[in-house]
Amino acid sequence: MTGRVNDFTLKIATVNGTGSASANSLLMKAIFRMGVPVMGKNYFPSNIQGLPTWYEIRVTDPGHLTRSGEVNFMVALNAETFAKDHAEVTPGGYLLYDSTWPRTRELDRDDIHVIGVPLARMVNHHFVDARTRILMKNVAFVGALAALLDLDLDVIEQLLTETFGARKAELVKANMEAVKLGYDDVREHYDCPLPMHVRRADMTAGHVIVDGNTTAALGAMLAGATVGAWYPLTPSTSVMDAFKGFCEKYRRTADGEREYVLLQAEDELAAGGMVMGAGWMGARAFTATSGPGISLMNEFLSFGYYTEIPGVVFDIQRVGPSTGMPTRTQQSDLMECAYAGHGDTRHLCLYPADPAEAFHFSMRAFDLAEHFQTPVFLVSDLDIGMNEWMVPELQWDPRYRPDRGKVLGRDDLERLSGPFRRYMDPDNDGVPFRTLPGVHPAGAFFTRGSGHSKHGTYTEDAAEYQEVMDRLRRKFETAREHVPAPLIEYAGKAFSADGRRPQPVKYGMLTVGSGDSAVREARQNMKAGGTEIDYCRVRAFPFSDDVQRFIDEHDTVFVVEQNRDAQLKSMLLCELEVDADKLVSVLHYNGLPIASMDVEAAVLDHFRKAKAS
């Protein structure tokens, strides 16, 4: 662990509400600007001020934008968690602490390098105002790291200038002073840079740093969503904040009138109803929430399924059950989203893996909702939604046209002979025609969550009821090949008998959403160790035939997911024809994003056990 140039993990332990968040971003962005791929994960507490918070930065020229699972450099600035943070450093790694308060007794490991910087002392000496002192301590450690890791001070200054803008030049100056304090002190006392450091490269061109809630919000706006309804709930709140920001910029007429309505509902149940109301009226409408909100929307989801009203629900998953850990990540709403609501219901779900896909799937969700006239979930999570990710630049597809689905307009209705019948299946795809309120008298019908016939009339008749339910099931089957296909990668190069795809190897690995990069790194590491594994990432529910085939063509498929109860595996078993023995669960559910090491360890463990038995 000495010469890890451009390939190490740095973790910063501080207290929230002290300005550390901006210091951490600054650090991450500086590395990015130096052309080196970088991953950032924020582990913040569920309060406003005073609790432990961590930020993990992985500098990764191999491009593994995921947690490795180890920490090579710890910046331990929180007394409360010092012991734990100290213990977490990998042997051979580094620990930086604020030596204003020497911790000689606690520093009892001889397998790591300890760097003491008297941050508080220097900063208090230099700055007067109390709040400034707190904030600048965090900037000073950035300076220390800049020296140790060989970060470019010009880049840092440039970033500060961009943040504060020309008008707040004095802030840039103060911040740079703090940077210098740390920088100079460390250069005075330590050999800089360390053998583990950052070296300028050219690997981040064509990339951006974004979070998935912002990209999802942008997708919603560009897809034409005009009504958003929500209730604040971590970690989904920033979707709506971002949506509002975009709309204020791009959705106001010259004289300031809004071409959108954002409704802060009284709770998630009402937010769900608002989306249904707007969808019934014909607008593209959505809400963003997390597990507790989905629970509250269950009745409306059952309603939306049965009445066939479009609407989009962003579920930014967090740790459950119940209030759980609101600021930690998990994939534990997979089943709830797919089958939400009482009665026989099933919902289309899209599973983005990163902020780029969150953007594209967000747009896709609106198209699918209107095409299939049903609530559609974008199932994201806190890791995708709130962490800053380096992703390839988002591309706009100039051919994009919204798919508004089968809606009879005024002229269609004018030509209609006989009454409009809402729930027929004219095209044999399970998708009926709909009409919108206020367009034409001939389009009128009564939408109800109670029993209805294919004509849209009230019914309690067994056969009439069943006919509609059967069509709904057919509609869902149609969707199977309309939703995003899984992403499948084969390890081998040899082609299968039919020549259409490479010959599968013995093992497959299947995951969903934010598990992607950890699985990719694990695969690569295992390949280096001689084990080849094919890969499938499910991107939507219902599962397409490709998923079935992928499972069929492998002896063993590792199903990697971030929940306790193997929810993805359960859904595969429910929905496909799968031999249960084949599927081996790799489960991770402690609230931290899954690390490549977690995947690797589980798979290797399985091999070991399989060999032993």
């Binding site: 009138e257 809004r258 109803g273 019934w280």
Partner: protein, 349 residues
């Protein structure tokens, strides 16, 4: 403007309104309610009110929750789109629908169970948002559809058919609405169509949330002696305070009003409501006064009816939002999406 070529001479004997429609054109499906149910009378009043206002039926959005009362939108305005929401959740559906397209007439029908029990939160918050709609509570003091349990509007001491007395204080929709800032608050009685029709008309024309609490006896479960929501009890304690005469835009105010007893209020569309004080004590434009008046009469167990509070200056959901004055249904596409995307990403490097 109508799309429908009306069969010219049907119902030749019935009068036609400004659009050439007869009241028949405002009807809906056959009622499946009990014979004598108050709700059916309200349906009739609604039909008459809409006919009288020359409303194009298909430009109305009919909405309800779940309950006997909430079934009624199927029984009027067959050319209007309608939606039966979930129990208690019509206000959120109405809010979303109105947000999407504020150009229609929004007409919500609810019950006392639907609005005051399961739906109380949504009811209150739709008022706060001042969603531009007419909201009727067909108030019978019981859950009709689930067979006669007390609702939250049951009065203390009111009894069930079996004689059990309610012991919890009622939630009064009128008091609730006024204290939550509702800009149009009225109370009527299904048995008094003459009073009810102009209230409905005024409510439909009011810009903002108009709430009418309508005592509407349930003959199956709450019309016995001991019930305070029976026909007999309502008639006995009926206390009209402010009569509202609705006068369409640009029509002259013809009736003669006693001086000091009539207040004309012009609505945003040019129509006028003449508030005729039956009870001189009550000034329906003074919120504090109205509340005090209601509270005094409540203590006397009187059922005060009429247009009890009106504020025509409030701004509705769209005014607060400064929404463009048209439907948002087809508005959201961006010509310059690619540029927007690039502008955004420029800040992400």
């Amino acid at each position: 403007m109508s799309f429908m070529k009306k069969p010219q001479v049907h119902h030749a004997e019935l009068p036609v309104n400004g659009l050439g429609y007869t009241v028949r054109d405002y009807e809906g499906g056959m009622s499946t309610l009990c014979a004598g149910c108050g709700h059916d009378s309200i349906t009739a009043a609604l039909i008459q009110a809409c006919w009288g206002l020359d409303i194009e039926p298909y430009r109305v959005a009919k909405m309800s929750g779940i309950g006997c009362s909430s079934k009624t939108p199927a029984y009027f305005l067959r050319e209007a789109h309608g939606i039966n929401a979930l129990h208690g959740r019509m206000p959120s559906i109405a809010t979303g629908a109105n947000a999407a397209n504020g150009e229609l007439h929004f007409l919500g029908v609810s019950g006392d169970g639907d609005s005051l029990s399961i739906g109380f939160g949504q009811f209150a918050h739709a008022i706060r948002r001042n969603v531009n709609m007419l909201y009727l509570i067909e108030n019978n003091g019981v859950y009709g559809l689930t067979k006669g349990q007390f609702s939250a509007s049951a009065d203390i001491g009111s009894t069930t058919k079996r004689g059990e007395a309610n012991e919890q204080p009622p939630i009064d929709p009128v008091m609730t609405a006024i204290s939550l800032g509702c800009t149009f608050v009225a109370r009527g009685f299904s048995g008094d169509k003459e009073q009810l029709v102009p209230l409905i008309q005024a409510g439909l024309r009011h810009r903002g949330f108009a709430m009418i609490d309508i005592i509407s006896p349930c003959v199956a479960f709450n019309d016995h002696e001991g019930s305070t929501k029976s026909y007999a009890h309502t008639r006995e304690y009926f206390h009209p305070a402010i009569h509202a005469d609705f006068i369409p835009p640009r029509e002259e105010i013809r009736a003669e009003y006693e001086k000091g007893r009539a207040m004309p209020v012009e609505l945003h569309d040019g129509s006028t409501i003449v508030l005729r004080k039956i009870d001189v004590d009550h000034d329906p434009t003074d919120r504090a006064g109205a509340i005090a008046y209601l509270e005094r009469h409540r203590e006397a167990r009187e059922i005060v009816t009429g247009l009890l509070y009106l504020e025509e200056e409030g701004s509705d959901l769209h005014a607060n939002n400064r929404t463009v004055p048209r439907s948002l249904v087809d508005i959201g596409m961006h010509e310059n999406a690619e540029a927007i995307l690039e502008e955004f990403q420029a800040g992400c490097r």
